[in-house]
Symmetry: D2
């Protein structure tokens, strides 16, 4: 096999379909699954009228992807189910509704990378995305795929809503502090900066290379990003008593391809809070998490890009005469991996009950 | 004149010396002064043992700088005073103390780009920089060179302390809100991101190109950056009643050469604060300021790099159930221009009582 | 005047219209002319149906451009002629034909930044651009605006064809060698690399930021770039005996916004050629040229970006056993300045017989 | 195992030591070997006085490298031999001589990533590197580790000289054309551009981030780069009759971290050469090579960075009136992988007679 690696596939091999493979999440899923020792991509399904060969879309995949599957096929749920055990959906928001029911009916596990099944409340979905939820029947079955926080629901799950990139970093940084009741849930500020792949692959004027090289700015409706309700939902699950939690979330766009850094500002409940307590809360929750790295230095996106790790660090800034110290937490992930395709593979591993890190380290 | 432009110098021409011209602030001062219609660089003074030709240090300056002054000379205050009316000091912090007294004695106006004369309180200087202030005699005469806020002190000033880059952006964004008593002075969070020239020209491991390309991270002692007291001092001058003001300041390093963006989070004093009131405070203070641009979109460092402008915008994020709205302000400057050399030229213009924008637009 | 600088305009002021100001060449012309001491932009003419305000197109120009002219107007030749002495055309290739005759008839000098008047032979134009030349009447009057090589034709010229970016760098590097008959005109290889602004401002998939960041590749039809005939035409004018000259020209796209570097490989006519002879040819031609910098190090685009300079250096690589030494020349320019808008201003200065470097250094 | 992946190691596992792991080649070897299914890093040996933990040198490796080996140990050949089957040497040129003999004596296979064993002729080594060869005893046993060209010597080899990055790309692009006697061996021009990791990890002034961002320039002694003799040696082995072959090689430095693109200009022996013949020579040599991708578009470093592939394409530019067509070939590799650490792993696979691509796709 010229295209393949030297690893003999183990007897068990999870067969994976990728629906909508021509965006960045598709690219990274194909890369990850192609070198996964216990899984393999078996079907690429495109909703384009003219079905592309994935190697033309992503020349990087030549020699990596099995030539037999490189020409994309139509999204035919029965054919997908014949070829695959699980389908990853990498479609634009709202498009998932057109395919998830049929893919589930055909017997596939579904891991949806869009936002369509992330918010549990259809009314909140409608308020956030501006159109009604299109599949309230399956919505209750959707498991929110953030293993470090909600792992127990994943084994055997039928439908996984893969979290957003910003919400992944924010939830991982804040959850231990809320769980330990160390910070005030009404005063959380998330200052986020992302690489440009987070904005998708479609060419736009303001992301034309000369316009965005050496640029840096906040974007979107200030205080109104779609990821804020998703972050709030997760945090409210961690600290139900404080629900609903509404963090202030301001995203910026870095002049880089990949990576997210979130700098999170919080207020302690107790003015005597110590740095040790902050670290204990992180260690209690993450000491045995293989994909979380606790750092004594502020994390750098450079150290997580290309990996599925989430790097976290936390600081206590003492009261400087104003009556209250502040807590500052940092979270860094690769938006395309732990923030999307890597987390989706981690979820797949959990669903199929193999070591969660398989193919990811 | 091969090196010169086609502009005939006006009868009045401010003769400027640059002391310590081999760093980035020196480079930009030479560029600005070389095309300034009413000023000209006349003396480059280096404290290196081996005196460099500035064109070897900065090949970009060949054909720009007068060949007669390109070979740096020693820092001889009398010789500098013979050749120049004003001396710009671009030395490392603490080194200014060795030269400012003698340059003043020699009759020069001095514009110091280091931090040495920015903090008015010698005890705060010592606490911040770790060594005693070295010139308490001249310190009381130093004028803080932020024209938009403290313009009246500049005409005829003998010694100007040119503000830090981060403090310039922060003070310009926050001052109107404090002046109008719209925000709580005890709860100000400044999330800042800077291009790498802000860290100086000395090669270091973590700023070696491959280490920092595509990188982004917070840096320094979290909550303990040296610019925080300078910001606090300026804000306390604006709102003396609230003094001392201690903002929380967290800087990050962007993978770009130039530009600073600050995203500033504040809490209104009055929960009924309107966006109009915020804008009014900005317009009241800046409507006639030629170097301030009020923006209805979040500013982008791309639009200020290469200019002396400070771009500002401001937003009110409504209460989402937590009991308080938030104010979010943005400030963007070029750290090497409005944050250093451009502001120094603006100060020079004010000191010599010519139009402040001369040579800057 | 808030928007203006501190320079009092001299009695003589060249009034300039910019036709098609919403691309990168328009941006840089407005910047250059706004700070030009003897010229000013007076009319921005757009061929869009909905006429934009230039400050919305380029937020960088707020506070720089006179607000009175910022709202673009239609391309009305009579109105342009009322307001301006010279019109810079920044339109796509072929569109110039629609406006140049009328603008000339209205009495304006025209400096055309498109390719439409660069090739003197209409048949070659048609072969190169795939459509007939649309204004053969005015074509004979067009002066090729490369002042260092063809200066004498510029004073008083009615119509200037502003050279292409690649041809400018190539012609300046090769011309002295051909003039001194040092190199074989049949064996010239131009390996070029350009920043992305050279490809225009229109967003395209392959120049979407994530696709092109950290990228580098040759592009276009290998061996068939449209600039090759223009280079050949210029070289043939320098060495008429060797005409026609057909250099091999291969362009690449750098992951930067601005800058062109050309590495040019040539074969000496005489195997005994010395490095001194090469340098002499450069010095003979350029010693007194203010916009050419002869370098003893290979030029770096970093040193020319933001300037109108062309940096040149030249090397002789000795015969290493193959029977012939090689000549390697380097040329670096800013494609948006010496390669476009800066050169256009240099031409304007020459046309109006003021110092060519006015407003450019 | 927190640090490990989910792959059970196969019974056979090649134990690998990395000597000098704190540079970029060390980093990438550790990454590659940590996820290699049939090998594992077992010993990190540093020649620093203070032995670092590799996770402090490269925070990216936390959670990837086995914590048991992360603290570097001294270079003790016996201890290395106890822990490992093969030693990769990532030392500066000349330092390898201090360790290779002892490591071989201790029974290890050695793969040397320095230049010390690449040139077969000690006199050429001395002429190129300026000091005598330090191990002429083992030099004759060194196998040049470019599997696509010299694969047969690798199985069971004791000492492998891993090729330079530039020579790898050049040799792969040119070899088929020489083997098929299509091009003139006396007229080969290699225009190369590399990412900055190729210059090593040591911080230097000209590679300080602000100095090199947005930069591009040729570097080194023009026509005298140390890689030229290595390229010549390889090409001379392919076409012994034409020996010695001295290509003209000019390297440039891109403002990116990783990636090499070489644009190679050649002259056909036969003026009637067809493009089909060029492609045939490539396909004859590489059709079954898993790490070579033949491209119908000019290769982009973006598509090879992060992979061990070499992308090649070839063009024939017809005679445009000068009497001879030209051949233009392109080769793209990741300088840190196919140009260094990836190729070293490919060689290890070949030495130990497992599928060459194992752990590389």
């Amino acid at each position: 096999m010229i295209w393949g690696g030297g690893v003999t596939l183990a007897p068990m091999s999870i067969r994976a379909a990728i629906v909508g493979p021509t965006g960045y999440t598709g690219l990274h899923l194909i890369e990850l699954l192609s070198r996964h020792p216990l899984a393999e991509p078996t079907y690429l399904a495109s909703h384009r009228d003219e079905l592309p060969d994935i190697r033309d879309e992503f020349p990087k995949l030549s020699g990596v992807v099995d030539p037999a599957i490189a020409p994309c096929r139509a999204i035919d749920p029965e054919a997908v189910a014949d070829a695959a055990d699980v389908a990853f959906l990498c479609l634009p928001h709202r498009a998932s509704f057109d395919y998830v029911p049929a893919l589930l009916d055909a017997g596939l596990r579904v891991i949806d990378l869009s936002a369509d099944y992330r918010l549990r409340d259809p009314a909140l979905y409608q308020a956030t995305y501006g159109h009604p939820h299109g599949d309230t029947q399956n919505l209750p079955d959707a498991v929110y795929g953030l293993p470090e926080l909600f792992r127990t629901q994943l084994p055997g799950a039928i439908l996984v809503a893969n979290p957003g990139c910003y919400p992944t970093a924010a939830a991982l940084a804040i959850a231990p502090l809320l769980a330990a009741r160390l910070i005030d849930p009404t005063d959380i500020i998330i200052n986020a900066a992302s690489g440009v792949t987070g904005a998708g692959r479609k060419a736009t004027q303001h992301l034309h290379f000369p316009e965005h090289s050496n640029a840096f700015m906040a974007y979107g409706q200030i205080g109104g990003h779609r990821h804020a309700p998703e972050i709030g939902q997760t945090l409210s699950r961690i600290d139900a008593a404080a629900s609903p939690i509404h963090p202030l979330f301001i995203p910026h766009l870095l002049p880089v391809e990949r990576g997210i850094l979130e700098t999170i500002y919080m207020t302690p409940i107790d003015a005597d809070l110590s740095l040790d307590e902050l670290w204990e809360s992180y260690e209690d929750m993450y000491a045995h998490e293989p994909m979380i790295r606790l750092r004594k230095q502020p994390p750098n996106i450079k150290h997580v890009v290309g990996t599925n790790f989430c790097d976290l660090s936390i600081y206590l800034v003492p009261d400087q005469g104003t009556g209250h110290p502040k807590v500052v937490a940092f979270a860094a992930i690769d938006n395309t991996l732990k923030g999307a395709s890597g987390q989706a593979v981690q979820c797949m591993n959990a669903v199929f009950e193999i070591d969660e890190t398989t193919g990811l380290i």
